[in-house]
Symmetry: none
Amino acid sequence: MPKVVPEYKEEARSRILDAANKVFAEKGYHEATMDDIAKRLGVSKGAIYLYFPSKEDLFEAMVKTAPQAFKEILYSSFGDEADPVQSATQFFDKMLKLSASNPGLSFEILSEASRNPTLKRILKQNHEEYEEVLTSFLAEGQKRRFVGDNLDIRPLANSLIALWNGLETLLVSGLTVEEARRAWLEALKAIFMNPHGSHRSPSPQSSRSVARTG
Amino acid sequence: MPKVVPEYKEEARSRILDAANKVFAEKGYHEATMDDIAKRLGVSKGAIYLYFPSKEDLFEAMVKTAPQAFKEILYSSFGDEADPVQSATQFFDKMLKLSASNPGLSFEILSEASRNPTLKRILKQNHEEYEEVLTSFLAEGQKRRFVGDNLDIRPLANSLIALWNGLETLLVSGLTVEEARRAWLEALKAIFMNPHGSHRSPSPQSSRSVARTG
Amino acid sequence: MPKVVPEYKEEARSRILDAANKVFAEKGYHEATMDDIAKRLGVSKGAIYLYFPSKEDLFEAMVKTAPQAFKEILYSSFGDEADPVQSATQFFDKMLKLSASNPGLSFEILSEASRNPTLKRILKQNHEEYEEVLTSFLAEGQKRRFVGDNLDIRPLANSLIALWNGLETLLVSGLTVEEARRAWLEALKAIFMNPHGSHRSPSPQSSRSVARTG
Amino acid sequence: MPKVVPEYKEEARSRILDAANKVFAEKGYHEATMDDIAKRLGVSKGAIYLYFPSKEDLFEAMVKTAPQAFKEILYSSFGDEADPVQSATQFFDKMLKLSASNPGLSFEILSEASRNPTLKRILKQNHEEYEEVLTSFLAEGQKRRFVGDNLDIRPLANSLIALWNGLETLLVSGLTVEEARRAWLEALKAIFMNPHGSHRSPSPQSSRSVARTG
DNA sequence: TATGAATGAGTGTTCATTCAT
DNA sequence: GATGAATGAACACTCATTCAT
């Protein structure tokens, strides 16, 4: 059996997190055993406990690594000056690929988080990063005039994140990828192509027909 | 110990499903034990097995009951002829209440479903019901002129469902209710307030054919 | 569901015993459930408890009925004046048929009996009946000159019973029916065809070469 | 709690098999619990599962060890050139002792085997070993002239095995040890003392071909 | 550091038996 | 008598965690 790593503790941790990610993604938090993870690494169960004090800690550490991939996709999709709908399509496809490699892992995380304050805090931090990145992108878009000048970009960023997350749930529920892509693009066009930039409340025609939400 | 039910087998099942719903919501599928559910009902573990052959079956049966609540909320929110954004706000608040009483249950379901074909099938049926109901509502909205005439209402319905689902995930991730409501309304305004016909390449026959939902 | 029997308690018992016999034979004592037996009869579980106070009692009662079939086979095989080897072959074939219809039941009974004094007593009574019947038959055989005059017929009877029982065990162990029949006949010929009738100790040549067993 | 074994995995298995043998013999397969076996060893239940994947596997492994004891008894009883009836008496007494230490275990095995193909296969292998050893012994007996020259020794071997097995059943049924020994010896005398060649239609080539046991 | 044997608490499921109807 | 819903004790098996080596 190869050792986890002779010298670099950090790399050992990182290898374990990789293995954990795969195993948790394949089996879900509860069905995955410490032994599964150890075997995937070719290491003894006990070795993992030298780096992580418990299964829960390991899971939490793994969740902390999640934003990395997301941010990479975000930057590579929206980073250049392309047409935003095209960027959104790229984003959709890359996220789809990521999500397909971890089927159900995000729900596993969410369901644990809904009962585990530590996890919740981690997710909150992750989300704040996402929100930040996306809001910046949208602000940049306003400068470049492909995002309506008077849009409220922070809630909009949240809508976009929510929309993606929600489409992931629908994919589990049997929505085809094509249907999901269609829904994603329809919604994005509504947002980006609105010719009036009239989403925010103080625009006269919206206040006429829209109930104030308090 | 009281009997599960005085007389009617159906009511017994239904009571168990209620208890299961609560316990699964509180603890999640794996952490919830059959004993938890039995005790919540004031009944012996064995009694549950008179009505459901396994924990898994009980869970699946519980998932099948979900559309009921959703449809009730949908009809009661969008049923009358009120302003659609106001209806959407009502919908949001009612869904929020439902979801708050079952924190994390939907993710539990999704994470199980991502590995359980039976559950997946049930979720698909559920989703088809949701899509149907919402598509009909949007079609009606087109007649009443508060939904753009040439909108592609089926993907739109999916966007709305996804958006709600996604907001639920963000609430777990620490988004405040206010932020979520804001994101919801911003997105809806973009959709509903959009001047007619701007969402897609306006090919008339496609919108007609999509309205046929079967 | 038909009632166990409306009027004759004895018949009810007897029907239950029949069903029990079949179910115990099919599944073994431990794997058979009271519900299996009840369902085989088309009766409720509770009904059985009106006639037998426990599963164990039911099993014991069933064991008590066993000699009936054995005696019938014994009489019908050895009853007439036929050639004893031919009779033995008939006996073998009939017993084989009986035993095939109850595969493993006798071992089930024996293994329970080895730990259950009540069952043991029942088996002892059954065995005494068998021994009696067979000894009488052998005595008759001596009169009719096809059993050696100076044979010790009671141990011989036991040998025959043991031989049959033992062949049953070998059939479970994969001996073919043909091999078993061969073994049975070889042994019987040795016993019945011994030209000297010299099995008992006081016969000179046997005492010479045979160790006394005390 | 002491460890199952200080160093050698094989010894651990062997100790568990020993404990299992005792517990299964005392309680029978179904009444014996894994906990019983573990406690008998002074070990936790889980430890057993490190060596055997299931109760059934443990039982089967135990059954596989049976021929060892049998062969030892057979060789030590018949190994020397003593008078065969005396050898047979020794064999009887040693087998009796073995069987008394495991009351009912063989029936437990047989009743399980009658419904369990894996066990059946094991029993078949065991039986083939017994048959082989005994046939060789009888062939040797023919050379030494204490077994009739033209006896068909393979069926004869089976008869002897069956006879012993059958006597074990009668011991459970209340036959006294003395009666059993008497029956055993009477039968053996019939076989061994029989003047040469009287057991079967004396076709010489058949006895030769049967001696080839492979 | 790393191992992996051992632990022991935990859980889904079964079923003989009871008893209100 | 007969039912069948309910009980509750039991048991096989799992797995996160520990620790002697």
